[in-house]
Subunit: 266 residues, 2 copies
Amino acid sequence: VSDSLELSEYTGFFHQLADQAGEIGRHYFRTGVAVEQKADHSPVTRADREIEAALHAAIRAAYPDHGILGEEQEAHRPDAEWLWVIDPIDGTRAFIAGQATFVTLIALCHRGEPVMGIIDQPVVRERWLGGTGQPTLFNGKPVQAVPCKDIKNARIATTSLPYFDDHERAVYDQLAAQCAEIAPGQDGYSYGLLARGELDIVVDASMKPYDYLALAPVVIGAGGIISDWQGKSLNIHSAGDVVATGSTILYSSVINALSYSLPATP
Amino acid sequence: VSDSLELSEYTGFFHQLADQAGEIGRHYFRTGVAVEQKADHSPVTRADREIEAALHAAIRAAYPDHGILGEEQEAHRPDAEWLWVIDPIDGTRAFIAGQATFVTLIALCHRGEPVMGIIDQPVVRERWLGGTGQPTLFNGKPVQAVPCKDIKNARIATTSLPYFDDHERAVYDQLAAQCAEIAPGQDGYSYGLLARGELDIVVDASMKPYDYLALAPVVIGAGGIISDWQGKSLNIHSAGDVVATGSTILYSSVINALSYSLPATP
């Protein structure tokens, strides 16, 4: 499965979904849309809900046998062989504050593994599309992460400072202190920036499948690496700690750094 | 001094300066431009230096008697009656990471008080121009902060988390915990967002004159308030702690909150 011939059938549909999402996102951006708090105290707006509903409807119409897992709605056939995983607005806090760094994330998983993903910023119109065995496209053109080799020359970002536990925070701080630059974290958008060479390391924790699954094909198709902090590939069951780098050499050092002070497994 | 008739002579020149800066910023954006560390460990690039040099040259040619104070170059006639204060790239960390949230800040001060200021984001082409006695213009059209009245309904942002001392951090955390939303901080860009109603409170510390002077006319001309944490108007000699709100009622509560746990002055 998941060779590029099979996936190419989904390319047009991915663009169609992102176009639909973008239209709604632009419609509500900077309009003072009301914000509600969810049970976990994260914010949600009408824009998040409308985008997810639109994508659900489009996917169910086009692929009735596929499953759908999104941030806001109840899952549909979550055990299906093909599963669409949606974050209608990743970076809702940025969206609410009028910052065009929020993104829509859409992943297609086959038996739980992400095989295709899109990161779309609809206001400044930046779109990354990645799929297994294909070069990642940024606004239609292939892009590459940069092969930075050393932590000391790397630019790092995280959006998880408020979510790290003490241990994660200590490990992250230790890693970041060795880097050349600490860049502002921008949720999923950071992984797109890494995939076009603007960042070298992105580290996060407490991510949900809809936060990380779309990122994997984008990063991998740009020559980067993405996994959990222990080095395991991301899938629908991953714990939510995520690290991406632009090169394999850098990746080894970063994984070492992240596991450095981990307590021994009992 | 500083009535709108006198200031109107500078309007065209402000746009000209921002246009020049923007051309250089766009030229180097996302090109992997080399980053150097300054003595204070903050990053600087060729883009920062070229923009400041270009603005210095333009100002000296147009107003040879005026002074110029910038982030990167030595000051020119810093005691002049009219002083231009420049941050060529505010948010260099965002610039380096390919995020179009950096801004060029230019202020004109008369006897140390900011009377006109511009906040310019050249990639997505967003420009705020404010001057004493004039409505703030966003891309040529008047904009207004929103009159949020209560801290509990407010959206707050800071970019100073890494710079706050323990006391400032405690005071900020206490304030932010009462707000409806904590938005990502985006340096000077946040104050532009407040001036068009996307944020209600922005709090920072350890700012330099070139970081805060341009912000004041923009915020004030949009109906907002900006001062130091004690409520004093910003001028060239301010200490660098800055708070802005979109309404006067909110401002009083925020100033109270910021001074709440201040130790008594001896």
